[in-house]
Subunit: 206 residues, 2 copies
DNA sequence: GTGAGATTGTGAAAATAATCACAAGGGGAA
DNA sequence: TTCCCCTTGTGATTATTTTCACAATCTCAC
C-alpha cells in the first residue's frame, strides 16, 4: 500500500512534526516542511496522499492529526519492545540510545554468551544469558530481535531468535541471513554510507 | 557514471569477494555470488557491466581483479582517515569498529567538547578538544568528519568541520545540515530500519 | 580442433520512484 | 456573500532501477 521509499521518509516527517507540535504550531504546509527537510514539497504531498485526503486545502496539514496517522502506519501507536543480542560496543550504544524510545521503541533486555556481561552492571538494563532468549521473550513481550553479534555468530543467533518466535530481525552483522519466509530481516550496513562518501571523494580529488 | 543503487551494493560485493579471495578461489560466477547474497545474478552482472567488460564468458569473474576494481571505485585503494566528532556512546562504538579498517577506513582521532573525555584513556585513540579540529586535520590528514554529537550540536559542529576544510560529512544526528554545495553529507538514520520492521509488524499482526 | 556446456554482457521491457503542473477546494477579508 | 489568495491532491511525465531473455563467446573435455 505505501511505497517503500515513502515509508523510509516517514520517520523524518515524524520528527519535524513532533517539533512543530512542541512549538504549538497546529497547521503546517508541505512547502514549510519541505524547506526544513531539504526535499521537494510535491514529494511530501505525494507521500501523504497515500493516506487519502487528510490535508486542508489553502491551509496545510493538521500537525497533531498527521502525527497520529504517521505513528499508526509505523506501528508506533503501541510501544514495541526489543531484544538486543550481543552486549558489545554497538549493542550497548543502541541500548543507551534515547532516540529509540522517542520513536516508541523500548529496549527490554540484552543477551550475550559471555558470562562476564551478565547481570545489570552495564546500566539500567539487564544482560541475560543467550539461553534465556525464548523464556524472556515471553515474559517481557519482546517482538524485535536486534543482532549486534560478530559476523560468525549471526546465523546461529538468528536461528535461535527464530526458534524463540521472533518474526522481525534487525541485523547489524555484515552477513546475509537465511530465515523462514514469515520472518522479516532488516539489514543495516553502516559501511555503505561512508563508502559512498569515499567514492565521491575519490571521483573529485583522487 | 555508476548509478547510486549500484554503488550501494559494492560494499556487499567487496565482502564476498574478499571471502572468496581468502579461500583462494580465483574465479566466481554471478550466479554463485547471487546465491550467497540473496539477490539476482542479472543484478550483479548489470552492476558490474558499468566497469565495461571485465568478466570471462563461460567462466565467471576473476576474483582478485574484480576486487581491485571495486576497491578503486569506492576509493579504497588508498586508506582514508576519519575524524569522529562526539566521543559518546556511538562515537566510541564506531571508533572501535574493526569493519572500518577492513574497508580501508582509518579512524585517526576523536573530538569532544567535554574535557573529561580528552586524552587517550578511552582506548588506543586520542580524544582532542574540538578546538583542535582544524590543526589536527592537517597534521593527521583526515578527510571525512563523522558527526556523533547530540542533534542540537550537529549544525554548529558541521560549520566547524566545513571551516576546518572537511569536504565530506557522515552525519548520525537526526538533523538536516546546511552546508556549502561542495561539501557532501551522508545521512545515517538508524531509526528508518527498525521503524520499517515495526511497520511490517503492525500490518501483519497489529 | 571441435562441439557441448557454461556464463557474460546488454538491449528491451517492466516496475518503482520523483517531479511537474494545474484543477479543485478551502480560508478569510470586506 | 463574493472574490482573491493559498495550498492540497493527483494525473501525466520523466527518471531511475530492476528484471528478462538471449546472442555472443569463452572453457574444457576428448
Ligand atoms: N561497533 C560498531 O560501531 C559497529 C558498526 C556496524 C556494524 N557492527 C557490527 O555489529 C556487530 C557487533 O559489533 P561490536 O563492535 O559491538 O562487537 P563487540 O565484539 O564489541 O560485541 C559483540 C558482542 O557479542 C557477544 N557475542 C559473541 N558471540 C555471541 C553469541 N553467539 N550470542 C550472543 N552474543 C555473542 C560478545 O560477547 C560481545 O559482547 C558486528 O557484526 C559488527 O560487524 C558494529
Ligand atoms: N547511541 C546510538 O546508538 C545512536 C544511534 C543512532 C544515532 N545516534 C545519534 O548519534 C548522536 C550521538 O549519540 P550518543 O548516543 O553517542 O550520545 P552521547 O551523549 O553518548 O554522546 C554525545 C557526545 O557528544 C559530545 N558533545 C556534545 N556537544 C558537542 C559539541 N558541540 N562538540 C563536540 N562534542 C560534543 C558529548 O560530550 C558526548 O561525548 C546523537 O545525535 C544520536 O541521535 C546515536
Amino acid at each position: 500500500m505505501f511505497p517503500k521509499a515513502t515509508i523510509a521518509r516517514f520517520p523524518m516527517y515524524f520528527r519535524v512534526l513532533t517539533e512543530y507540535n512542541h512549538q504549538n504550531i497546529a497547521l503546517v504546509s508541505s512547502e514549510e516542511m519541505a524547506q526544513k527537510l531539504g526535499i521537494t514539497s510535491s514529494q511530501i504531498r505525494k507521500d501523504l496522499s497515500y493516506f487519502g485526503s487528510l490535508g486542508i486545502r489553502g491551509a496545510g496539514y493538521d500537525v497533531a492529526y498527521l502525527l497520529a496517522k504517521i505513528k499508526e502506519v509505523l506501528g508506533m501507536d503501541k510501544s514495541r519492545r526489543l531484544a538486543i543480542i550481543g552486549a558489545g560496543k554497538l549493542g550497548l550504544a543502541l541500548a543507551g540510545y534515547s532516540g529509540l524510545k522517542q520513536h516508541g521503541l523500548e529496549v527490554a533486555a540484552l543477551f550475550d554468551t559471555d558470562d562476564a556481561k551478565w547481570g545489570t552492571n552495564n546500566g539500567p538494563l539487564p544482560v541475560f544469558p543467550l539461553t534465556e532468549l525464548a523464556s524472556q521473550k515471553e515474559k517481557l513481550g519482546m517482538e524485535i530481535a536486534v543482532l549486534t553479534v560478530p559476523a560468525s555468530a549471526a546465523q546461529p543467533v538468528a536461528n535461535l531468535a527464530v526458534k524463540a518466535g521472533f518474526k522481525a530481525l534487525w541485523n547489524f552483522a555484515p552477513v546475509r541471513l537465511v530465515v523462514p519466509k514469515d520472518v522479516i530481516v532488516q539489514y543495516e550496513d553502516l559501511v555503505v554510507g561512508i563508502l559512498t562518501l569515499s567514492h565521491h571523494l575519490a571521483r573529485k580529488f583522487g
